[in-house]
Amino acid sequence: MAEVTLHGVHKSYGELSVIKGVDLHVRDHEFMVFVGPSGCGKSTLLRMIAGLEEITDGELRIGGQVVNDLPPAQRGIAMVFQSYALYPHMTVYENMAFGLQLAKYPRDEIDRRVRNAGRILQIEHLLDRKPKALSGGQRQRVAIGRAIVREPKVFLFDEPLSNLDAALRIATRVEIANLHRDLKATLIYVTHDQVEAMTLADRIVVLNGGVIEQVGAPLELYHHPRNLFVAGFIGSPRMNFVEATVSGTGEAGVTVVLREVGTEITVPCAPGGVRPGDPVTFGIRPEHLAEDGTGAARIGGEVQVVERLGSETFLYVRMANGELLVVKAAGASRARPGDRISVGVLADDGFVFDGDGLALPAGPGRAPRELGTTRHEEMRGRPGPLLS
């Protein structure tokens, strides 16, 4: 078993607190991804699990054992760094064998593990080369190989794809997913790229300012963000937010009026603590706005910018309140800058956030959303509840 459990974990540098009480349970064989903006503490949290940063307060368990005071090498982890961190004076073989040599493994066993990792990662022909003779992608494979040979309980990846170009990043992302499936290891992965997070993760931890905003499966975070931060962070382009006022509540949901725009929209969610007249924020994703005006409500505006990506087009529409609304349109959209259009709102997919920024719970009128199964559950061959 290689579960990782954090109880009330804090990290402070003097007066500055960077991790403010994290409670988290990473399941055995799970692919857990930490995401968040720069400075949110995701890398610090990973380094605390690795043993490269001291834990100021709280308890960390790996495989059931408290490891707060254990050095990194004794925690049963292996780490892949963003910068590769290969030893430049050693060959690929020596880089991969170094940790095993320090642990005094027999030479035959070291050779077997290194060659096996080389075969898995298709770098057998590079074993005698030094890092400077490798491309970026090959160096990253060696860094992953160095982690594999240790046969750790938990793999830690610190933004491993950030230094690769776009094409290589996609290819390596697929390889990491395959690797996780083959190794059946617990894997904790830090990234600021939400595409990586959404495509790789069994569950995602969204961090902000040293606290966990939400933990959940990728589609759960997408469809049921707990608050404004998660709603804005997950999804690309980000969710549109418009200041609004509650005009009524009922069985159909909460009706809001967009300020300085005038559009009235009824969102199928439970009113919770909001009352008519309360200020709220209305949220709607670009893909839930229709360029052709179909939907429960309409928002008028002038097209400012058109981004054509081939398969889809993003329209930046200036509303009456002066703010921009991002609309996802078809690739063949004929909209041009300067056009006045009336954007349709698919209100069923909208969100209302109360004055504290918390999402109002989905009401009975909202259709259930397909969350899918996680790869973790697929691997184990049993679908299960996504929430822990």
Partner: protein
């Protein structure tokens, strides 16, 4: 592709970058080459004059000090090379300089590694204390140094000369080593810690192999400084058989005070080892030893 209602670029982004013309680049290169040739002449002319002077007769040296010898007199050099005194002094210098360089490298690198990677109470003050040593040349401490070495029973020994030289060289070597170690990517330390290294193993297996440029630099500086040191051997050594070459040079000049061609030959032969050491270590003083370690 992006269509925009208003131009998105700023005027500054469309301004063409200012370029230097080829004429300006050519002049700059000319100045640089001129300056380098001037510096090379300042260094090389005295060296060549000394080496060539050793091949001349005394008379020719007076009439033609800078030109090539009319007749190459190899015996000036050969006579020195066949004396026991030359080899003895060379051996003394080699022992003292090598020991000094070795101990400076060992002590300086380990101390600098500590200052570069570990913070402990008073570490900053201790580092400054070491660096203060840069302000005091050996000549300012001759008397207390003599008394201390005498009390330690190291007068007239190689170690008595070596230890003060190491002490006076530590400030500079710690400064150079520390700056180098701090520039070794931090991720290498993290990777080594995950691999099972402690600080000692990291120093030995990772830092030192990556530090060949700075080891070569500090080693050469220590070796040459020790090789040329005159004042410390003068006050701390009494027996002529233990004299390094700067002291031997003075004796030799006293004996052959009028035979300047022989003195020049002697000087040329004594600086040869430092040139050999420099060229042997030069190949290690190359940039890019950390190439491939991290994303550059």
């Amino acid at each position: 592709m992006t269509d925009a209602a208003q131009p998105l670029g700023t005027p500054a982004s469309r301004r063409p970058a200012r370029r230097r013309g080829p004429r300006r680049d050519g002049l700059l290169t000319l100045y640089l080459y001129g300056a380098m040739i001037l510096v090379a002449c300042i260094v090389l002319v005295p060296l060549l004059t000394t080496a060539l002077g050793g091949f001349k007769t005394l008379g020719e040296l007076r009439t033609n000090p800078f030109g090539l010898p009319q007749e190459w007199i190899w015996s000036n050099y050969w006579d020195i090379l066949t004396t026991e005194r030359y080899w003895r002094m060379l051996g003394n210098s080699l022992v003292i300089s090598s020991l000094t360089a070795f101990l400076t490298l060992a002590a300086g690198s380990m101390a600098a590694f500590t200052f570069a990677h570990l913070r402990f109470f008073g570490s900053g003050a201790l580092l400054n204390y070491f660096l203060l040593g840069l302000m005091f040349p050996a000549a300012t401490a001759v008397l207390p140094l003599f008394i201390r070495i005498r009390d330690l029973g190291l007068l007239d020994t190689y170690l008595g000369v070596v230890l003060p030289q190491v002490a006076f060289g530590l400030g500079m070597s710690i400064l150079l080593f520390r700056n180098f170690f701090r520039n070794v990517p931090k991720d290498l330390l993290d990777a080594a810690l995950v691999d099972g290294c402690g600080y000692v193993r990291y120093f030995w297996h990772i830092t030192l192999p990556l530090s060949r440029p700075i080891l070569a630099t500090v080693g050469i500086v220590s070796f040459v400084n020790s090789w040329n040191n005159y004042i410390l051997p003068l006050i701390l050594l009494n027996t002529e058989t233990k004299y390094p070459w700067p002291l031997g040079m003075m004796i030799y000049r006293g004996e052959f005070s009028t035979d300047w061609h022989l003195v020049l030959a002697f000087v040329t032969l004594t600086i040869l080892p430092t040139i050999i050491v420099f060229f042997a270590a030069q190949k290690h003083i190359v940039a890019g030893l950390t190439a491939g370690a991290v994303k550059g």
